[in-house]
Amino acid sequence: MNSNVSRNDFLTPTWFLIAAGLVAGGAVGIYEMFFGHLFATNSSLVWTLPLVTYIFLALMSTGVSLVLAYGLIMHDETITRHTRALLIMAIGMLLGAFTALATELGSLLNMVWILLSPNPSSPIWWMGTLYSIELVLLIVKLIMDLTGRHGVFDKPLAWGTLIVAGAAAITIGAVFGTVIGRPDYHGAFLSVVTLVSALVSGAAAIVLLRPQSALTETAGRIFRQTALIFAALVLIRVVYEAHSTVVGMLGWASVWMLVPFVLALVLLQFAPRVLALVGILGVLWVQYSFIITGQLVSLGQTAHWYGAVQSYQPNIPEALILVLGIAVAAALIKLGEQYLMSNQRQDAT
């Protein structure tokens, strides 16, 4: 623990931005949980930007965990040298995701209740359980790293993280893919999309947040490779939707979604951080698009209430939950860096 942190370390533009996000988003979150309903949801369009925020941050955290697990298993020093920083990133992002989810569910207790009253046939139960295990594994690894206890457990923990994180990302896709009545959701394809988007956004986040190091090169390589796969997946979907005769399918993919990934592939070495951010926004766009589009067609009585096809635009409180999730993640990552990284090599190597 670094005891040299002073008040001045918090008087920075980054911390002001984080504080503004925490206050504005936190106020909305507390209002939504305790006083009233602010989100633009209804009985047919049930999952909006707050849930997208959860999925976006949880998958990004998964991606960081997967990159770290890969580095530990393959003994890739460019990654393992930054183990602590990557653990802090993954934990911060996951807790930011859980914060957004708590506002979406309306209470923290509802999140815990999912674990305590299990239904193993439910993909959401598996998602909640796997991410809880993932959080525990990450914290255990961080404690072991902080206390300098390395040894026999490192490998099994890395494999455990790899399996749990991979399964969690696939299960998020299954939450949508196992829905049978909504044509834009169905199918195993979404599990592939969520797994690959986790890798793309996780690797991009490492490039964005751990610049000027050999790690940037390794993470950049993973980012480029997975972005190529992701662009291919989006393209496959565009072609499929163009030829689909499935009744009620609106289609969520567009060729424009390829642009961020093509840009990142071609130009990454010239402006890695900017292009990593572009890639992350591209992933958010794809996730937002498939989650929202899947619910726009009303199936029963709700068609009379809200129209056969709804339109959706996030409202300001929902946008502030996105800000809150990111602010919580950023605050935890910054705190981790300031308090837990003093004796770590953060230099460019």
Binding site: G36, H37, T41, N42, S43, S44, V46, W47, L105, G106, N110, M111, W113, I114, S117, P118, N119, S121, S122, P123, I124, W125, G128, V175, F176, T178, V179, I180, G181, R182, Y185, G294, Q295, S298, L299, G300, Q301, T302, A303, H304
Partner: protein, 180 residues
């Protein structure tokens, strides 16, 4: 398992909406929320068109995707039957069941946030009565009973008339039948 079902004669339904009012009254639903609804559809091929009124609700499916997808077991089967209920105390408001129901038969109970739906009036069924919507129908187009009992009124109606279910292709095996 006892399989309860509803058989609704679309030739007799006049779309009056009494079933909707009866349900709201019986189950004390707040303004703006209904557990059942009446659909007005066009049947046939031009120029031989007729109007079909259908009283719709949860189908209490034999393969209830809402129950499978509920992470906490809040959506569950009542006793050893196909009647699907929601335990508000266990409901986290995750809304997975809403996404999973191909009939959009579930609603968010405001302001509490738990999920509500048709219960086939199981509190009346327990006492040997019909659901409120069935009892209130002025044209007697709705019938309720045990589908696997050959002597029940619903089984006899299904054996004697042409019928359909909604969205059979989903595989949910709905238990609300429409006589056509």
């Amino acid at each position: 398992m006892i399989r309860y079902g509803m058989v609704i004669d679309t030739q007799l339904c006049i779309g009056c909406g009494d079933c909707v009012v009866a349900c709201k009254t019986e189950n004390k639903l707040p303004a703006g929320l209904n557990r059942d609804w009446v659909v007005e559809a066009t049947r046939g091929r031009y120029p031989d068109l007729t109007t079909e009124f259908r009283s719709e609700r949860c189908n209490h499916c034999s393969h209830a995707t809402c129950v499978h997808t509920c992470p906490t077991g809040a959506s569950h089967l009542w006793k050893d039957t196909n009647i699907v209920l929601v335990d508000p105390g266990k409901c986290t408001g995750c809304k997975a069941c809403i996404a999973a129901c191909p009939y959009d038969a579930r609603l968010i109970m405001t302001p509490d946030g738990y999920i509500d739906k048709c219960t086939f009036c199981h509190h009346r069924v327990e006492k040997g009565e019909d659901p409120a919507c069935v009892s209130s129908c002025p044209t007697h187009c709705m019938h309720f009973g045990i589908l696997d009992e050959p002597s029940s009124a619903v089984s006899r109606l299904l054996a004697s008339r042409q019928q359909k279910v909604l969205l059979d292709e989903t595989g949910n095996q709905p238990n609300v039948y429409y006589l056509i």
